[in-house]
Each structure stands twice: as structure tokens, then as C-alpha cells.
Amino acid sequence: MKALKYLLVKEYKQMFRNYLLPIIFVLLPVAMMNMVPRIATQEVKNLNMAVIDCDHSSLSSRLTHKLASSEYFNLYATCDNYEQAYDLLERGDIDFIITINDDFEKELYRTGDTRIHIDANAVNGMKGGLGCNYLTQIVMQYAQELNAEAGLSTKRPATIEPRYLYNSSLDYKPYMAPALISMMLTLLVGFLPALNVVSEKERGTIEQINVTPIGRIEFILSKMIPYWSVGLFIVGFSMILAWKIHGIVPAGSIWLVFLFNIVYILTISSLALTVSNYSENMRQAAMVMFFFIIIFILTSGLISPLSAMPHWAQEATRINPVRYIATAMRDIYLKGSTFSQLISQFIPLCIYSIISSIWAIASYQKKE
């Protein structure tokens, strides 16, 4: 194990002499932490709509005004006919067309029932659906207002009061920031060790190491430890950034965050080395790692919620290590979950890390 010290000195020197790597370790978290939580929002707002008001009555113009002043919608244009509005929708300028018929006011006063039409661009189904819900709510409120003004009242049902726990303002930032840390870890600690070993293969220096009596474990450790430290740096640095930029701090224990990430870093770096042990050149290693990382990230719940997946897929994601770290990070950050509450995430992650590190060591052959 004495030789390990020398190998580590070498790895760190090489890492810092490669001007690009240290820059990336600092720049990537800064850029991503600044940018992603701000833009990675599926909040539906700033929706553009066009209103076709055929009625031109006082009630219809009040409705138009009410819709336009909502926080979710911008009144992009008022159109005279449907063709005009549809043209705007096809151009992508608007996503909602509200049509008020010419008998809107008359019907309301005569029968107490009137109607408006909404056409929503539902290419993004979530946007179309939520937008319609918002519009409907605004129209309902307007109707209630009219009733109250006219002195009509309906029987009051029980009030339903929603309370959103852990994220009371339903903000996407505290949801995305912890996940982003896991995503950056996956990218850096997943890619770099794999590329490092393969580049030694391509340059032939690995031969020179293989012909020495260095043990497998020592060699693998010398490749992993530098990236463990990089990984821990990324975690710590990103946590500080999340705190300073967005004021997001874990509701739970900081040590728990580190505990989970240590196990996760061990897992993902071992997987990276395993891939590199089976690859002949950089392109191959990068492709294979990329393949796994993309599938892991897409199916981990980082981007879309696990609960929305079909059951078989939810079960299948149990073999995805990113799933456990993503869930744990969000639960610690948002809900303040404790270790015992997260044990069901911790155990699979540990098993995964043991298997992958054994695999990494076993697949490294000093001999062909």
C-alpha cells in the first residue's frame, strides 16, 4: 500500500496540470447552479393568449380584462376572427385562444347560463392542461363576482384549504437544486475516471504500470481516490452555491447529505472504471458511459417524477443507482428526512456500491 501514495501524487499532479479539469470543477457547478434552478422550471406561467370577443359587451370586456390581468397569462392580441387567432397559434406566438360568442351577455341574463370556448395548444400536454385549469378558475371567480354583485348567493360548501408541505410556494428551485448536485456528480465522476484510465491505455503508460508489482486494488484506488475528492468538493461547493445564490439549504442533516453522496460517488466511480476496463479507446469508453448516464438520469426521477412512470418501469428503476441518490437528496433537502427514514434508499445504494467496486477491481486485468 506504500506505492499508493506515489501513485496518488502522480494522479493529482496530472489532474492539476491539465488546465481544463480544475476549471471545469469550479466552473461547472458555478454555471449550472446559477442557471439550471432558474430555468429548470415546469411552472406554467407567461402564457400568451389571444381573445376573440364577438360580443363587445361590458361583461365580455370585463372578462377579457380579468384574464389579461392574471399572473399566468399575457394578452398577446385581441382578434376579430378565429382564422387570425389560429394563425398566431401556428406561428407559435400564442398558446391559448379564448372565444367569447356574440350572445355571451344576453344568454347570461336570460338563462343564467352562458359559455366561452378555450382552444389550448396541447403539444406540451402539461402546459395545455394546467393553462386550461387556470383559465377555468379565473372564469369561475368572475362568475362568483357577478353573482355577488347581483345579490345572488349559493349555498356555501365546506372550504377546501390546500397546504403544500416542504415547499409551500410550489417553487421549482428547491426541487431542482439538490437533484442538480447529483446530476453534476454523475456527469463528472462518471465520465472522468473512465476517460482517465482509457487515455493511459491509449498512450501506453498503463503497460509500464502493469509490468510493476503494483496490486490491482492499489491501482484502482489510485484512479478513484482523486475523483472521490473531486466529487466531495463538487458536493460541498454546490451546496454552498445553492445556499448563497438561491438560499437553499438542506432541511435535514448536512452530514447525511455527505454520507449518501460518499456511497454514491463510490458507486458511480466504480462503474466508470468498470466500463474503462472493458474499453479499448476513449471514444468507446465515452460512448458506453454516455449511454448508461443518459438512461440512468432519464429514469431516475431527476427530470420527471418517478410516480408518473408505469408500475413495471418504477420497479425496473430499482437497478438504477441514480434513483436512490436523487430521492435521498430531495428528501433530505426538502423534507428533512432522517437516516432511519431513508434507510430504504441507503441499503440498495450500499449494495450497489459494493457490487460495482468489486466488479471494477475484478475487471482490471494486468494480464491479457
Binding site: K2, Y6, L7, K10, G204, T205, E207, P213, K367
Partner: protein, 247 residues
């Protein structure tokens, strides 16, 4: 040179699929000897050498290096050999000294000792001024000399050199062979592959491989007599033109 045998190969074979790279070769190398391993490109020299260094598992036959079996005691073998590969393989993003410290450390030489040894080695080479130079910026000839010094840095019993002088100028090659002689004088057995015939003349004994088999093995003088050539080039040409393998 003593009578003690340090490398002994018996029917050593390496097969890749249907292709037999090294076909049942047998030979012995004595302690302190400079043993030349000649052959055209693709004759199987590098494959044989990689097996002896414990980098490649033999398909058949057996061999021992420094008294250890290469198949079962590869890690023990590695403790007692030095190796310089065909492809230049020092870390070019480390300095000269850092490379020495690293490989010294791998063989258990302490930092202090490695430092002293590096100083004496570099002085001997007249290279003291480049101690802190990044290896990447050195000329090829110097890189080769350094790679050799590094291969014998830990005083191995045997050093394996795989075409060590490829691509360097005649003057540097000459200097390189002086280094080899100096190592041999210190009792290090040198196992060297080459296809420069003038270099073959410098060896104590030479084996010539054709199509994976050893076709001739003797001292350069005996070989010339046997094949009736004036130089090793004639000997080599006489054997190599029978080769069927084309690169």
C-alpha cells in the same frame, strides 16, 4: 556473465484465435548476458516478451524468469524485472524527477533514496539541468535514455527492452548501447528486441525469430559462420526471406 540461468522458456506459445503468434519457442538466458531477440515485424518478438514480463498469459508451454514461473507467479516476476516498451511510455505530463520518484515509489524506494539516486543517474547522463523539465518537451533520444534508466532504476535482475532505439539517430543509439553495457556490467541481464542488425552485433547471443519460431540461436560470430555471411545482416536476410507472414 555467469552460468546461472535467469530466463528459461520451454515450448512457450501464444495463440490469438487461429493465429499462432509465438509457436513453441524454447531458450535459456544466462545471468549478466545481453540477449538479442531478432525478427522481422510480426515475427512474434513482442508477444514473447510480453509473456515473459507477465503482461500476457501463455497459451501453452512454460517459462521462468528470475526463478519464478511466469504463469503462476507473475507478480513475483514483476518484482525482479524492468521493462521498456516499444511505445514510449513515461508520463509526459510529469517532470523527469517526478517520473523517477513515482516508479521508485512503486518498487518501494523511499523518496529520499530516490532523490539521491536520481541525482547520481542524471549526473552520469549529463542531464542534471533537465531534472525539472516536463518529459513531454524532451527530444525523443533523451526520452528513450530516460525510459531505460527508469527501467533499471530499481536494480532489477533482468531488464526487457522492446525495440528501444526505434526512431533515434545513430549517435544516440550508440550512447544508448553504452548505457546497456554499463547495466550489464552491473550484473543486470539484458533481453533486447531489435531489427537493427548492427545492434545485433553488440549482443552476447542472438536468437532470430521467423513466423513465430526461433530459427537460429547462437553468438553473432557463430551465426555468421553457420550461415556464411559477412555480417549479421546477411544472416538475418537468409532467414527472414523464408517468412510467409506479411505485416
Amino acid at each position: 556473465m555467469t552460468d546461472k540461468i535467469v530466463i528459461k522458456a520451454e515450448g512457450l506459445t501464444k495463440q490469438f484465435g487461429k493465429f499462432i503468434a509465438t509457436n513453441h519457442i524454447s531458450f535459456e538466458v544466462h545471468e549478466g548476458e545481453i540477449f538479442g531477440f531478432l525478427g522481422a515485424n510480426g515475427a512474434g518478438k513482442t508477444t514473447a516478451m510480453r509473456m515473459l514480463c507477465g503482461l500476457s498469459h501463455p497459451s501453452d508451454g512454460r517459462a521462468s524468469v528470475a526463478g519464478y514461473d511466469i504463469a503462476t507467479q507473475a507478480e513475483e516476476v514483476k518484482r525482479h524485472i524492468g521493462y521498456m516498451s516499444q511505445k514510449f511510455s513515461l508520463y509526459d505530463d510529469l517532470t523527469v524527477e517526478e517520473n523517477f520518484t513515482l516508479f521508485g515509489g512503486i518498487y518501494g524506494i523511499s523518496r529520499q533514496k530516490a532523490k539521491e539516486k536520481t541525482t547520481s543517474l542524471l549526473t552520469e547522463l549529463g542531464f542534471e539541468s533537465e531534472r525539472k523539465t516536463m518529459v513531454r518537451s524532451l527530444p525523443l533520444g533523451w526520452k528513450q535514455k530516460l525510459a531505460f534508466s527508469l527501467a533499471i532504476f530499481h536494480n532489477p535482475h533482468i531488464v526487457f527492452l522492446d525495440e528501444p532505439t526505434g526512431g533515434v539517430d545513430p549517435v544516440t543509439r550508440r550512447q544508448f548501447w553504452e548505457l546497456i553495457y554499463r547495466a550489464a556490467d552491473r550484473g543486470i541481464t539484458v533481453f533486447v528486441t531489435t531489427h537493427y542488425m548492427d545492434e545485433a552485433e553488440y549482443c552476447d547471443r542472438v536468437s532470430i525469430m521467423v513466423d513465430g519460431k526461433i530459427e537460429a540461436l547462437d553468438t553473432p560470430a557463430n551465426l555468421k559462420r553457420q550461415f556464411g555471411g559477412a555480417s549479421m545482416y546477411d544472416v538475418f536476410y537468409a532467414l527472414a526471406r523464408t517468412a510467409k507472414r506479411v505485416d
